[in-house]
Amino acid sequence: MAKKSMGKSKVTVYPDWCKGCGICIEFCPKKVLEFDAQGKCSVAREDDCIHCGFCELHCPDFAIVVTEKKSREKAS
């Protein structure tokens, strides 16, 4: 599972699915996410992400995906 070390995670937000409720932004322990100009969630400080999974689990619209950078690169 998620090792709490920074810089290893990739955070993807699908803006079309995001409704801008702000739960992910509010409760992110490392303040990785913030509102963009349209009021939706955007990834501001991806390197700070510790892959706690809070945003992903609490997004009511399934609009955030957090993956490990490495495995992704390998796969592609």
């Binding site: 995001c18 009511p60 993956t67």
Partner: protein
Amino acid sequence: MNITGNEIIHQYLRHNKKFPHVLCAGCGHGIVLGSLIRSVHQLGLPKDDVVIVAGIGCSGRLAVYVDFNTVHTTHGRALTFATGIKMANPKLNVICIMGDGDALSIGGNHMIHAARRNIGITALILNNNIYGMTGGQSSPATPQGSVSMTAPFGQLEESFDTVQLACGAGANFVARGTVFHVHKLEKLMVKAIERPGFNMLEVITPCHTQYGRKNKYKNPVEMYRWLKSNAMERERFEALDEDKRGDKFPIGVFVERDEPGLEERYHELKARFAAGRNG
């Protein structure tokens, strides 16, 4: 395949449905659906064996988005349809999604009797304290004193304690979780799905649009903060002096039994006759 989190969810959503879903920004129902999908995934249940039976209201809309066998029924009656499906085919995992108005008001009687007869159904009661889809009228779970469209001067009536109701009615498994405590919720949900008999899981899931705004929660986030600070493990809550409980409410498991479900008892009865026929 090493997939996690929402990538799992995406595999279970219906690809021919339009997303995002119809629910409001910040609505906890989506989180419940996510937890449900992860629980089913974790238990390794084939999609074909899972039946979602939903009632009417915001919670009822969840069924359409997920790629199981899904039945969107009438208001308050989801459990009755689910009972029929389970009795007709006990091999299926029948999961009922209901709202608080659905399960406790119009469907209160069905709820009591499904628990009493211990039919093998997982009942998820998504309690948002209000009738959301229809515009914010009072439900039996609307807290005393709070404002709704049909209680503009504050709700006079006491609200239902869903957990106590299910315990009293004889459910096999009774638990409460919240959409803020997702890991815990998932654990409860896995239990509620895999246990025999009637398993009731109440999920506190905020409705900002119809409940929060009228009751001094400025945005959805505030409602989640409220959940975070008021939900308390059952053991800790019970240890607390009553005068110190205030707004706090217990979460966790309240009843955990392994009584056979009605469909199992019926199967035993049939087996007796079958033995008679053959022997």
